[in-house]
Symmetry: C2
Subunit: 246 residues, 2 copies
Amino acid sequence: MLVPADLDVARQHNFLLSALPEDEWQRMKPHLSLVDAAVKDLVYEAGLPIEHVVFPVTSVGSMLNDIEGETAVEVATIGREGMAGLPVFLGVSESPNRVVIQVGGALIRMTAVDLRTFLLGDGVLHAQLHRYVQATIVQLSQNVACNRLHSSEERAARWLLMTADRVGSSEFFLTQEFLAQMLGVRRGTVSLTAGVLQTAGLISYSRGHITITDRGRLEEVACDCYGIVHAEFEQLRSRSAEKRRQ
Amino acid sequence: MLVPADLDVARQHNFLLSALPEDEWQRMKPHLSLVDAAVKDLVYEAGLPIEHVVFPVTSVGSMLNDIEGETAVEVATIGREGMAGLPVFLGVSESPNRVVIQVGGALIRMTAVDLRTFLLGDGVLHAQLHRYVQATIVQLSQNVACNRLHSSEERAARWLLMTADRVGSSEFFLTQEFLAQMLGVRRGTVSLTAGVLQTAGLISYSRGHITITDRGRLEEVACDCYGIVHAEFEQLRSRSAEKRRQ
DNA sequence: GGCCTTGTGTGCGCCACCTGACATACCAGT
DNA sequence: ACTGGTATGTCAGGTGGCGCACACAAGGCC
């Protein structure tokens, strides 16, 4: 995943930023910085004031919920369709959740203070973020039901598809240990279900490098939650594209 | 649960509305109607345009997610701390979720169109709703993790406490069948776990009428998710009270 | 009073997943 | 080549909740 040369190139990858009219983008630009993030980098910590908001470019973030005495569980994924740090937009400085980088790559960063002052102007970004909040709520609510009713295999397949969408590639890095945390299951379970998927020829992996080899059949294995959440973000994307053309 | 005489009385029960300055409230009032809702009434359907938004007064709503070929699961609870119909506020006319009345009672209703035009003025309600969206996101993300990691007993205890908070009473109506749907488990499981709680003297129930008899010990049985979500909404409430005093 | 609907108790085989190891394979550094 | 860390495979015992069924009880309606 190559890192874009400058902000203007990077911007094109993020749906929220690419939808902005030129003047709004120019006003924002001085407050942005292009950063290369590595896996496990912390975007913001639970219970502490959020310093920066982040617009993923080629990286992908995970919103995690730490349950006391348990492993963390991923509650939402944040890719180039959105922004990490919604609480800042919503007028709250912190949240009980943590956001970490799940797939390394480029991202655009802005301080929480700058975002707040910028939003007072009340432009297109404000409306875009509203749509994104809605899509996030849909994703979260789908995750609630999915985690309750679907098997670890369905969820694993779904998770792989969603991540592939977000990195824009059918191969990326992730260990079984990591996937286990995302899904909220033991690594042993992942080893088992991933093994089944590999034997069936849907994916192939080795030491953290995973490739989706048969996307069509993987979609069949995944639960409908994938399609529902995908549709929601697809709608967001097309609306952004529309905005851009105006 | 008595139904308030008029809008001004009802307003006092809803945290979002009670936080509004007098002039904003007076502007809103002509567009509101006070309604008495019964259990299982539909607030809005999944996938269809949302006609009304709803501010619960003494009633409680459930945001449900219908999984194909499965029973629905409650993904969020909506009580007098908030509003049903966030998509409208967020600029989207529909969502894949459904909202139904879980505990009957009074609610204040407004058409989606009226809310949209009213919000153009950009007053206190706008800011209040932002805070509420954040609290809702916290609730949802907690539900994701909770549904994955906690036992049906912990979740049942938690759910009872949250509902009691929202109706403002330690007794209310709900059948095992209903609770099973909310928790996303079989009724047999609820019969079992509820039986344990009753034998232990924490609750007592009969044919849909349930009473929390030992709140303290019920809190011990419930998972921490209760405390976390409760704290988030408590913060929202206290901020609303602050606004009102200004 | 007798019906029917609705709410609740309960039983049993079954399976996904947990818990907690231990064993192997691959890679990097020296 | 040796070593230590990391990624993965695997296993055996345990359990929570599923799936499905049947029985019973309490109230509402005729």
